[in-house]
Symmetry: C2
Subunit: 215 residues, 2 copies
DNA sequence: GAATTAATTGAACGTTCGTTTTATTAATTC
DNA sequence: GAATTAATAAAACGAACGTTCAATTAATTC
């Protein structure tokens, strides 16, 4: 056989990406074979090479697009001309929503960095650093404005990001907690952690979590 | 050739363990070959199988001993009959000290779980859960005693552990911050995060970080 | 409807993998 | 110092790996 009826390059490539994210998240990049991936897509191994010249190209594409998506999501969610507390709240909400929605892709982007070539690793890390820089700026602005009490901006940013991203390790949609509840709790913990003393105006129903932000 | 002069089983096994932790942390379990490991130790691949019957046995041994070490470290560090704030402080200090000291082993234990058989994975996760349970108990006791203000004990415990363990991702000994400074900052952030309102009596030099614990 | 392009199969390549087997030598025991 | 045990080397096993190549068929273009 050769070309199959109804075959479509775009659809196949999309199927490859989706299957790859899931398989790599579950098995790890090194442990996933191109044969397994092909079987999951329902295609012969050789067909994969029409879309991705090497296995590493596939990994890099997934990672790059994940990071681009994260930066774009924050660009769209970032509030303009507001106080640091509101900005921090927006950052936390965007971060958690994005990562819960893309658990598998986040897993891949965080765990498989060592499988990239040096050049491509640098490229991904550059994007990650840019994203973290946004948080550091919010924290610095807030500290200077007296809205936060922070020891070390860089250290606090890393601690917050690791805390928030950690959500994907234990959170499962549809279990004990809803996304809104989780987000509310993390928002509350974040505000306490940075010593936020000024209300950020939003009167959302965080329950006890909301009260903790020193409204 | 065969047995080499001066060869010693205990020393070789120790060398294998140490090299394995470093190689797996750097390359990943799947990416590290037994041949690479043997070369690092200065031995032929077949010699490894005298000490570890399979590659997975080697991984499991490293992980199990790491987790046992963590539980033992906490057992030794856990203060008896003190207030929840002091207990939490001890937990944070022990956790960070242990993880900074064993960065590579922690990396292995956290990242390579999926390479274990189901049975062994369960065994490791049981130890991990037991360790996390200790933190949850401290948080619950503190919340009941009015020393902490916590939304959700389980969620807070996960957030704290992920935040603390994250230290190994960015911390490098001998760079900008000392271990004491990092520990102080994390202690401060932890106490704020859980809404600690009672001093825990220790007057250590955390600087501004210490002040933040509402002394 | 012929020519061209897109999509895929099937088979194979050389390499590397974890592991086993057998032989050999050093250290220890008696 | 002979017998035994401990520790390794050397070579090989079959299986799986990422990838390539040529052939083949579906869809599209003209």
């Amino acid at each position: 056989m050769a070309r199959t009826t109804g075959s479509d390059g775009e659809k196949t490539e999309a199927a490859v990406r989706e299957a790859a994210v899931n398989l790599i998240a579950r098995l790890g990049y090194e442990a996933m074979s191109m044969r397994q991936l092909a079987a999951e897509v329902g295609v012969q191994p050789a067909a994969l090479y029409r879309y991705f010249p090497t296995k590493e190209d596939l990994l890099f594409t997934l990672m790059r697009e994940h990071m681009e998506g994260l930066l774009e999501a924050w660009s769209a969610a970032r509030p303009a001309n507001t106080d640091p507390v509101s900005q921090l709240a927006a950052y936390v909400e965007n971060h958690i929503a994005f990562h819960i929605e893309r658990r598998h892709a986040t897993h891949v982007s965080n765990m498989e960095l060592r499988s990239l070539s040096h050049e491509r690793l640098t490229q991904i890390l550059k994007m990650r650093t840019a994203y973290e820089k946004e948080l550091r700026k919010i924290l610095r602005d807030g500290a200077e404005a007296g809205a936060f009490e922070i020891d070390d901006t860089g250290l606090t940013a890393m601690a917050l990001i690791q805390m928030m991203t950690g959500v994907i390790v234990w959170f499962r949609p549809g279990e004990r907690l809803s996304i809104a509840e989780v987000t509310g709790s993390y928002l509350s913990m974040t505000m306490r952690l940075v010593g936020a003393t000024i209300s950020h105006g939003t009167a959302r129903p965080f329950g006890r979590a909301g009260d903790a932000v020193a409204l």
